[in-house]
Amino acid sequence: MSDIFSLISQSATGLFHLVVFPGGLFALLFGLVLKGIDRKVEARLQRRVGPPLLQPFYDLVKLASKETIIPETANKTLFMYAPLLGFTGMAVCLALLPVPGVYYGMENMGDMLVFFYLLPLPAIALMVAGSSSSSPFGALGFSREMTLMFAYEVPLLLVILAVAMQVGGEGSAEFSLRKIIEYQREHGSFGFTLSMLPAFVAYLLYLPGTMGVPPFDVAEAETEILEGPLLEYSGGLLAFFQLTSAMKLVIALGFGVVMFFPGTVAGGPLVNIVWFAAKCLLLMLVALTLCKAATARMRIEQALSFYLKYPATLALVSVVLAWVSL
């Protein structure tokens, strides 16, 4: 009997983490507000007035009110399910996102590797979308998205390895986010550790690539390949892509905060949630908004060689430093 109760309570907490916090509602609202702040600050940096703060919400309501067109020549099943692929991937990933001081995800398992495998899902969803929409621009976007993904996944893997080796010590690696947070509570945040600084810079450079913002928005370049994979999407299906992007923003920023600045403050869980959100916001302003407002789009081969040269090298430096345990 008690087994059944514990099972029910377990699945209830699991559902809570999936639907309310940190996944689901919290992440959606937080991600959309972050996007609104991003657009407003970018406009102010360019001396424009900018859209209202709640613009991403208005966009979603608008998209829901529009007609959804599915092209006759498209592969209908794939075309319909591509947005859901990215959305569900991000929803599951969010349920595992630790919020330091409040929630620790999968506790003692190697959840960092789960993040590494789930994070590219929106990009894969875009690839499926581009290739199933039967438009030449979609196919172009598909090939660009794939090239870009190969470019930015290399530094991400090296960053994860550097952090894991620093925590593991003595040549071994530790892939549990809870252990990583606890290690940094004792030894100081990796964002302020000299040997981890190159990895942190590499992660900062990884962020604009994975979020597809300038100068790495080559796959969705609206002025050259007409938004590539998203070209044929309209209405509700396009809204799903926007939701996925907002959730991915929270995951990418939250993952960075957990790896490099997981410090907590005294006070209840509510204070720590606000503290976590503030750190995410700061990370976004530095890595995405500033970068977006100041740069123009690269060509695909420039983006590829950039990622394989600089962030990968920086992360590799950190891996070596962690290996010789400096």
Partner: protein
């Protein structure tokens, strides 16, 4: 329902169709978007690259014979409800190209135009006023006050 449509019209995405324009109006459209003083993003607007994402479509140029079929096809790709704005004197009357051998315009021979923004080229202020008017028409259409394109008339490809 009213609140819903009030929120919907706060996010008008703009799409530009060049129907054989001399590029003067297109430069003004870019100005409207890029120069801080005008900044259409404050109205929630965004220039989108795909006709499938558009709500308000801005057409420039006198509709030449060569682009006619393509313009009509792209216009039909835009999901309903949509609002059409003719920017510049060319789509309205043909402008300086009126009577030319390759001119198929004025554009409302083929497409139901909702707002005319005259000028050669029009100033950014009048383009923004045109977008605001288009927003009003869009709201009326959502509330069922103004007729939509579907019941109004059909575009037939020649």
């Amino acid at each position: 329902m009213n609140l819903f449509s009030d929120i919907v019209v706060r996010s008008p995405w703009l799409y530009r169709i060049n129907a054989g324009s001399c590029n003067g109006c297109d430069v003004e459209l870019a100005t409207t978007a890029c120069i801080p003083r005008y900044d259409v993003e404050r109205l929630g607007c965004r220039y989108c690259g795909s006709p499938r994402h558009a709500d308000i479509v801005l057409i420039t140029g006198p509709l030449t014979l060569r682009v006619r079929d393509k313009v009509l096809r792209v216009w039909q790709e835009i999901p309903e409800p949509k609002v059409t704005v003719a920017v510049g004197i060319c789509p309205i009357s043909g402008g300086v190209f009126r009577g030319g051998h390759s001119i198929e315009g004025p554009i409302d021979r083929y497409i139901p135009v909702d707002v005319n923004v005259p000028g050669c080229p029009p100033r950014p202020q009048s383009i923004m006023e045109g977008v605001l008017l288009a927003k009003k028409i869009w709201l009326d259409r959502l509330n069922g006050i103004a007729p939509g394109h579907k019941e109004e008339r059909h575009v037939s490809l020649p």
